[in-house]
Amino acid sequence: MKNIVKTFLACALLLLVGASFAQTDDNEELKIAALEALMSAPPERALPIVNKVLSGNDSDEIKSRALFILSQISLPEAQAALIDAARNTSGELRMEAIRMIGISGNPEALSGLSDLYESGDSEVRDAVLEAYLIAGDSDAIYQIAINSQDPKEYEIAVHMLSAMGALEHLRTLGERGDMSETLINAYAVAGDVESLRVHANDASNPEIQVQAITALGIVGGPEVNASLVEIYRGSESPEVREAALDGMMIAGYDEGVLELFRASQDTEEKRRLLQMLVMMDSDAVWDVIDATLGNQQ
């Protein structure tokens, strides 16, 4: 009974506002308050009122609010209305409708976004990607990545996959031979040590190898620290060694650099490692300097 009263009041408020007020800020605020009140009503009663707002002459702001109400209604008719708005409106309202499809998470509505993505401009495409991100639909973003011919679009999709922690999709992209700095960075953001280690030890593509080693430092942690020291020791390549040192610096692993310094018999190498310790602002550097100067005396 309470719900019926609330629905009636919200409906009456919307009609009253529409009929008796000029288009003022107060009017808008009152309509928004009425839409909020609709949330207390049963969905099947709220839906027709929301649809009426969407098909009326209200401002985009009011309609955007109505779209959010729709996203919170799980009835199939509400999802259909969202799809309709995403297809048949324009500008900001269209972007909002796409976002709301992401919030609703309805698989059918989400699958309909792929058509919009294909035919849409850059704003629509960004909105669709954001909707997939909100919905946690990593499969859809993966499809965009593998079908993309545009490096920027690919980069955005891969970045989103990394933010979502979609390791399997990222690894599959790597296995397809799409290895790039973008993907290496994505592994780092997703914390995929396993993939990074594979590329860090693969000298077939020196550029990717160096990026992977440095990216290991971004992930950090004891496991990575040990790998970086191992990579440094196991390579004769100055680039690889430099990347391993950079990785240790990024990871803040001064103990590793100190270990290498103490083990080194090469003056030039020691000088480089000492510089690195200074750059890292390591507490150990003073002992090292003291010991080095002591040896020289």
Partner: protein, 246 residues
């Protein structure tokens, strides 16, 4: 061993001596768990280090009041048996973390603050004392407080004051991520989606170069959406259903 236990271990709270030793043993013997714990520590350290704005004293008093009253209600509440719906298990499973998140949120606001003092020692330990009995209200209360405070803070923001706005919004984002993570990990995708949807808007709102007009518009949008979610959440909690399908 789940994140709830590791979180309690991190805060040295809520675990018996035997349970702590069990965690320590597990961390020594399970490298994957150790890695997971380190990640968790980094996240929680980040929260501690986050330089936040002090909370106004009236808000702090209100949080305490909300927590105290809820604690009193829970002490006499009869817990309904859970249905098979997944959100029930989400409530149960995340009770400790949710209550803790609330405590963390309060801690964040209280840290570095000139406001009258610290959180009472038993403010949130009381809540997590018997999670099995108190979980549903603890989680919903945590969310309600998060949404209410987010809405109030956004509404009260000066659209022109970029620096203060950015800092406050970054605080909201941090809390939002906590709840989003809990929802994702505990199979409540509906709730996770709503929380995820707030973040892009919050991020845009935190940008230094946003115009006052755009900031005002985004604040109004977020306030509305938070209101809607609050209404729905409050309605579902008051209905005492086991499910919250936001």
């Amino acid at each position: 061993m789940n994140d709830d236990t590791l979180t309690l271990y991190y805060y040295n709270d809520g675990l018996t001596g035997a349970e702590r030793r069990e965690v320590e043993s597990a961390l020594r013997s399970d490298p994957a768990l150790a890695v997971r714990y380190r990640e968790l520590c980094e996240q929680l350290d980040g929260l501690k280090e986050f330089d936040s704005l002090p909370a106004p004293s009236h808000l702090v008093a209100r949080w305490h009041d909300v927590i105290d009253k809820a604690g009193e209600r829970e002490a006499v509440a009869v817990v309904k048996p859970s249905s098979s719906f997944h959100f029930g298990s989400f409530f149960w499973g995340t009770a400790v973390t949710a209550a803790l998140a609330l405590g963390i949120a309060i801690g964040i606001y209280m840290s570095g603050s000139s406001v009258d003092g610290s959180v009472p020692a038993n403010t949130y330990t009381d809540i997590i004392e018997t999670p099995e009995a108190r979980a549903p209200t603890a989680f919903s209360r945590g969310l309600l407080v998060h949404f209410q405070e987010s809405r109030d803070q956004l509404t009260g923001l000066d659209a022109g004051a970029n620096g203060a706005r950015s800092q406050l919004i970054m605080n909201i984002i941090q809390q939002n991520r906590l709840f989003e993570r809990m929802a994702s990990q505990n199979e409540s995708p509906d709730l996770a989606r709503v929380l995820r949807a707030f973040e892009p808007i919050l991020t845009r709102l935190a940008a230094d170069d946003i115009s006052p007009e755009d900031a005002e518009k985004l604040q109004a949008q977020l306030a509305f959406e938070l209101n809607i979610v609050l209404t729905k959440l409050a309605r579902q909690v008051s209905d005492k259903t086991d499910s919250i399908d936001i």
